[in-house]
C-alpha cells in the first residue's frame, strides 16, 4: 500500500512538471519496495553435487580438474538462494591404477567450488573417496599353495601374483556426491518475495536440506 502511494505520488509530481523530483521519489520508492537483502549460506551447509565427467582410477591422474554442478538447489530458511545447475569444479586429489599383486585402484576426489557470478562458493568434505576391490588375499592364498608346489616344480609360482590385478574404480558422469560449503557465503536476493513463493512449491526439497543440516555436528 505504501509502495502504491509512493508510486502514485511520483506520477502526480511528474504530471505537475517536475520530472527530476519525480525520478528521485520513484527511485526511493523502488528501493523501499525491494531493499537489498543478503542471505547467509553458513559454513558446512551440505550440498548435493553432480559430477559431469567420467572419472576413474585408471583414466584420471592426480591434479586433474573436472566439472561439477549443483544437483539440488540450496535453500536457506525456506528460500532458494542458489539454484540447481550452478556450475563448479572439482579436483582429483589422488588416482592410482589397479596393479599387480592384486592391488586395487584408488581414487580420492575433492570438490573445490561452485560459481556464483564472479564469485566462488568454496566447497569441502566431498564424500567420494574409494579404493576398488583388491585381490591381495587371493594372491596371498595362491602363494601359500605355490610355496608348497614349487618345492617339486622349478617354477617361481609366487610370481603369478604379479599378473593378478585388483579392480579399478569408475565414477560415471552423472554420479551424485555430497559435499559441504567451506565458508560463510552471502548471496544477495533481489526479490525475496518470489524466492519464498518458489519455496512453497518445493516442500520436499526444503525438508531434505533442513534434515541434512540437522544431521551435521
Amino acid at each position: 500500500m505504501r509502495r502504491f502511494g509512493q508510486a502514485a505520488l511520483a506520477a502526480l509530481i511528474t504530471f505537475a512538471g517536475t520530472p527530476a523530483l519525480a525520478q528521485d521519489i520513484a527511485t526511493e520508492a523502488a528501493s523501499d519496495a525491494f531493499p537489498p537483502v543478503e542471505i547467509l549460506i553458513p559454513k558446512l551447509t551440505p550440498v548435493m553435487l553432480e559430477i559431469l565427467s567420467p572419472l576413474g582410477s585408471k583414466t584420471s591422474t592426480s591434479f586433474d580438474r573436472f566439472q561439477i554442478r549443483l544437483a539440488d538447489p540450496i535453500f536457506i530458511d525456506g528460500m532458494e538462494v542458489l539454484p540447481a545447475g550452478a556450475m563448479g569444479e572439482g579436483e582429483v586429489v589422488h588416482a592410482k591404477k589397479a596393479g599387480g599383486m592384486g592391488t586395487a585402484g584408488e581414487l580420492v576426489l575433492a570438490a573445490r567450488y561452485i560459481g556464483f557470478g564472479e564469485r566462488r562458493l568454496a566447497l569441502r568434505s566431498m564424500s567420494l573417496s574409494a579404493a576398488g576391490k583388491d585381490a591381495v588375499g587371493a594372491v596371498d592364498g595362491l602363494n601359500a599353495v605355490g610355496a608348497g608346489i614349487s618345492t617339486f616344480v622349478p617354477v617361481p609360482i609366487g610370481l603369478v601374483g604379479f599378473v593378478i590385478s585388483g579392480r579399478n574404480i569408475a565414477i560415471p558422469a552423472g554420479t551424485v556426491a555430497m559435499a559441504k560449503t567451506a565458508e560463510d557465503f552471502t548471496v544477495p536476493i533481489s526479490d525475496p518475495l518470489s524466492g519464498a513463493g518458489e519455496d512453497a512449491d518445493k516442500p520436499s526439497s526444503v525438508s531434505m536440506a533442513e534434515n541434512l543440516t540437522k544431521g551435521e555436528d
Partner: protein
Amino acid sequence: MKRFAGVFLATALLVGGSTAAGAEDAAQVQIPAPPPGKGQVVFYRTGTLMGAAMGCAVNENGAKISSLGSGRYFVLVTEPGRHEYSVKSEAKDVLALEVEADETQYAMCRIKMGIMSGRPDLRPSTEAEFIKSSTDRLVDDDDMGPGPGALRAADLASALANK
C-alpha cells in the same frame, strides 16, 4: 549323550563369550575428534599373517611419522589441505589425501607380496572398515616420529578425556 551335550553347551558358551568379549574390545577403540581447526588421519594395519614381521613406516616429506606393526594403528593430527603419505620397502607407494578441518579420515596399510620381500600398500579407507578390522592396538610411542603429529598414548588419552 547328556554329558556330550553338556560339553557342547559349555564350549558354545565359551566361544560365544570370547566373541562377545572380542566385540567389546573392538568397540573400546575410540578416536577423539581433532583439535579445532585441525584435521586427522587414522592409519591402521590389519593383523594378517602376510608380511607380519615387516613394518609399514608411514612418511611425509621424507620424515617418518610412525611405523605400523601388524594389527596396530596411530592417529595423525595435521593441518587441513592436501597431504602425501608414503610407505616404502623394495617399492614405494604414495597416497594423497585431502585432510579437512575438524574431520577424521582413515588410511590402511597392507603388505602385499614382492619379489624379494613384502611391499606395503597404502590405500584410502573408511571408519567402517577400521571398525570391522578390529585393529585395537596403538603403535608404541618408541615407534612414532621423528616427524610430528602422531598422537602418543598419553596424548590420545588426554584428547579422549577432553572429548
